[in-house]
């Protein structure tokens, strides 16, 4: 009986250790939560993938993010999207309105917006241009790109932890979120769609002199 008790205690301790490792000390329960925590602790470098889009002249994504030396809030979209991207779009429209208000008040925060398509096959520059017009995007603040090379697109999604799942009805589900990048092209923080104000405040703070 003593041996049984000992083994049971050992098994319970093993389970506790496994659960603790899995949940980062019981802070997160999902892989998305773990990804956000890991990004906050260790910024993620952006891979050098070539991008193209209307009015965008940069050899690769890190160079695009470095332009102007500011902070960029990034989201992932596909232009045929009818569900979550619409709320992402309206979320970005509200962010754009806030940034325009900043500019009008003469306290430009040097924060910009970038939408990256993960449907590079379909979303050519013309589609992105039309989508940008539909979203009333201000080209100085909000730009749209795709990654033309499929292998590079996969590498980018993999590095940034963006998982895209076809839903079988011609659409995609993906872990939509607001990704904040610094001027060195590093992903510093990932915010939920509902945390739009927090993402903006963090981006403003990051642009305002933080390293």
């Amino acid at each position: 009986m003593l041996r049984t008790a000992l083994l049971s205690v050992l098994l319970l301790l093993g389970g506790y250790a496994a659960a603790r490792w899995l949940t980062h000390d019981f802070q997160v329960w999902t892989d998305e939560g773990a990804r956000r925590l890991e990004v906050a602790l260790r910024p993620v470098d952006t891979p050098r993938v070539a991008v193209e889009g209307p009015g965008v002249a940069a050899p690769d994504l890190p160079a695009l993010l470095a332009q102007g030396g500011g902070v960029t809030i990034v989201d992932f979209i596909y232009t045929r999207c009818q569900s979550v991207c619409l709320s992402l779009g309206s979320s970005f429209q509200q962010l754009q309105a806030a940034l325009q208000a900043d500019q009008a008040a003469g306290r430009s925060a040097n924060v910009r917006l970038l939408s990256i398509s993960f449907d590079g096959v379909h979303d050519g520059p013309a589609q992105l241009q039309a989508y940008a017009r539909g979203q009333h995007a201000d080209p100085a603040l909000w730009r749209f790109v795709r990654v033309p090379a499929a292998a590079q697109e996969q590498a980018l999604l993999h590095r940034l932890g963006v998982v895209v799942v076809p839903d079988g009805r011609g659409d995609y589900e993906h872990n939509a979120a607001l990704l904040v990048f610094d001027a060195h092209g590093r992903m510093r923080r990932v915010f939920d769609l509902a945390e739009q104000q927090l993402a903006l405040d963090y981006a403003r703070h990051l642009a305002g002199g933080a390293p």
Partner: protein, 206 residues
Amino acid sequence: MSARWAAACTPARQGAAALALGVLLAWPAARAWLEATMWRHMLLQFPLWMLAGACLAGVLPPALRARAARWNAHGIAGLVGVGVVLSVLMVPRVLDLALRDPGVEATKCAALLLAGAALRASWGAAGLVVQGFFLGNVLPMTAVVGQLYSDTPLRLCNAYLQDDQARLGAWLVGVAALLALAWLARVAWWLVRREATGQALAPDSP
């Protein structure tokens, strides 16, 4: 019927069954199919690995089984182990990690295999009280997790769709309820039978 069944399940046949099932489950195409949806991942792949483990438990020679039983009085340690494995594997992050981390995937499958073996080796020895305590912990936990999966507006796994998650949640609740009912029915049947044999014996007893 059960005697014939026991005679047909020779250790060699059980070993072969465990091996065949293990190879099938580890075969990349089958693995991809089982893990393509959330419900197949949890409600098909998990129990099948446990079934392979249960077959494997039949291969152990009696001497080894007796030695293992000394560490598993009343099946307590075995059922604690099964409970621990099932609880940890219900953390939603496991499903995502298993898809992209081969180490986590291998650990998950090995843990389920051992849990299946431990469950079979412990269940008979456990008796109704320990069995009831085990199910009283594991089944409500399964039902609560299922309810959470079907009710939450959040997608808990990046790799799986929200409606898949909701369906899995509903089925987890259903499976937990069915297992509870099956066990209660078995207990009731056992009690009735004991009473019946008790009455039949009564006139003979002094």
